[in-house]
Each structure stands twice: as structure tokens, then as C-alpha cells.
Symmetry: C2
Subunit: 164 residues, 2 copies
DNA sequence: TTGAATGCAAACGCTTTGCACTCGG
DNA sequence: CCGAGTGCAAAGCGTTTGCATTCAA
């Protein structure tokens, strides 16, 4: 499942926010610092959750993150994963999205962007923000402003031209 | 909550599908016929659910529909409302959408279209399809085709220019 | 009549919460 | 040390399901 359609941008917080030892530091320490910078106590569990989700631009469910942590032999409770994800989302470190009624997925890419949604696998892929532009856009209801604009392109495998 | 942003199109099945007595028939009978045409036994409960949802272009949750039926003194079980909505959606008479992780809403407008989503009230408003056009659109993953393209514009009340 | 649809309540899956225990600063 | 964070299990909430009863054709 290589993401050749993933966004090109880096999901990291802006580099200026981490003026200290940044160059040779392993990911885990960088994550811990990010958590700290956002007012979160970088506990072992939180760092693991954030590390898995934020290591690269991905979309994961709480269950997937839980599974991945436990696969490594570590112990985390389901509640902690959910609570951690909620706090990370509140603090703006990750983004919660819900294109599927069954479950939420968490997106490590925090800048607003659009998604391909594979209807068969449920998989999500980022769309490069530069690949979408509007030539016509509706007037907004009076007194309101657009917080975000999200485009979802639901994909289905192309029907091989059957001899109909 | 007048929908000046509602789509202009009619959500009915195509008129040619109903060659019989159509002109003077009250809504309830029209609904019953539509159900029948789609292979659904038009029971009292189903007609009520469909009638409420399809009377005009709206977006309603299962709970809202249940409440509206019961407000009129009629008896329907929650399960029947959910089951009916599921069948209506399967048969293409309504459309299930989920922009909110908490609940599904059912949309009486079945042609693909876009939505304003009021982040404060949770309310949805249709966007006229003619009010949205793309000037740039991403290349789709190989072998895939776009089943639908959905744009969601999440709205927030404009911040009155406070004297900050 | 008779299979399909309904109603109720129990089951379900995802997420949150209450509370005692533990850990990080 | 001490409050924030964790873990477990129980509770919540929207939705589905099992089964006996009822209804539409």
C-alpha cells in the first residue's frame, strides 16, 4: 500500500518551535518535545501513540494504533489510546476525520487537505492541496465563514470495459 | 431554518415511472407508490418515514424522524425507523451521509451534491451543484474512477471584529 | 392465508468515564 | 511528593438483530 498519492508536505510542527537539539535526535525524543511544547506531559504511552501516528503522513484508527503498540510487546489500554488521540487532536497535533460512519481515523497531516477514499478498502489517501482548485464557489450563508473546505473523492475500481 | 441554500432539483423518481393516477393524489399515496415501485411493501410505518423525509429536501437523523412521527401520536419502534431508513437508502430513495462522527443523517436529495455544515448547530444545507466547479483536479490513482466527489464547507459564525 | 414487516429488548461496536493505582516533574 | 495520567471494566450512545406477533397483498 505505497502512498504515491500522499501529500508532499511535512506534517511536523514548524521547525522554529524546536530551537534546541533537533538535528541528531531520534524520533521518540522529538515527539516527546512536541508533546511538551503543546502542554502535554510526555508519558511513555502518549509518546508511543504520537510516534506511531506522526512518524509519517498516515491515517489510522484507534484500534490500528493500539494493535501496533501491542505488536511491539508494550502494554497500553484502549482507553488511554482513545484519550491520547482526543488530546492530541484538541491540541492540534493530529486531525480527526470521519468519512466512515463506523469509526474515526486520525490523520497526522494537520494542514487542511483533501482525500481520496477507496470505497472498497476504506483506505484514505491524501490529495495534494495544489491539485485542487475551484473556479466557482458558493456564496456562504450570511454571517458565516468557511472554517475548512474538504473535498472527498470516493473511488471505485474502474470497471474493465465488459462486452455489454 | 429556511433553506435558501437548498438544491433546486426535485428528489422524486422520474415521473415516467408513475404512469397511473398521479396528478391529484396526496403525498402519502405518491410515497406509497414510490415504495411499491422500488419493491418495498408500503406499510404504514414505512410510508410515514418516507413521507417525512421525502416531503421536501431535508437532512434528518433517525431520531428526528422518530420524534416527528411520535409527535403526531403514532407508534413506531426505533428499530423500524432504522431498518426503514437502511432499506430506503439501499433502494436509492434517500441517501445516507455522515459528516458528523456521532450520527448519520439521511438526505432526501439523492443526486450527488455538496453541503454546508454548520459546526455550531450541526445543521446541513445543500449547495447548488452549479455553484461549485473545479479548475484543477487531481489525477486519480491508476485503475480507479471517481464514484462521487463531495465537497463539505464547514461553517462557523463570523467573528464580529472585536476591538482587540 | 402467509410471508414480510414490526416491536421490543437484548446485543453490538466504538468511544467515554469512574475510580484506584502509578508515574513523571 | 502529588497531581496528572493510566488501566480496567462498566457505562453510553447510535445502530442492529432475534424472535414472537401483526399486517399487507
Amino acid at each position: 500500500m505505497s502512498s504515491e498519492y500522499s501529500a508532499q508536505h511535512r506534517p511536523d510542527v514548524d521547525p522554529s518551535a524546536d530551537p534546541s537539539s533537533n538535528q541528531g535526535t531520534p524520533t521518540r525524543d522529538r515527539i516527546a518535545q512536541q508533546l511538551h511544547l503543546h502542554g502535554l506531559k510526555p508519558t511513555h504511552q502518549r509518546v508511543r501513540v504520537a510516534e506511531i501516528l506522526m512518524a509519517a503522513p498516515t491515517h489510522m484508527t484507534a484500534e490500528q494504533i493500539l494493535a501496533q503498540i501491542r505488536k511491539g510487546g508494550e502494554r497500553v489500554s484502549k482507553a488511554t489510546v482513545y484519550n491520547t488521540l482526543k488530546v492530541l487532536a484538541q491540541r492540534g497535533l493530529v486531525r480527526q476525520i470521519h468519512l466512515d460512519p463506523e469509526r474515526s481515523v486520525y490523520d497526522s497531516t494537520i494542514v487542511p487537505h483533501h482525500h481520496f477514499h477507496d470505497l472498497e478498502t476504506g483506505e484514505l489517501k491524501d490529495i495534494d492541496p495544489n491539485d485542487i482548485a475551484f473556479s466557482r464557489f458558493p456564496t456562504l450563508p450570511e454571517g458565516m465563514e468557511a472554517e475548512v473546505v474538504e473535498v472527498v473523492i470516493r473511488l471505485r475500481r474502474k470497471r474493465a470495459a465488459d462486452g455489454a
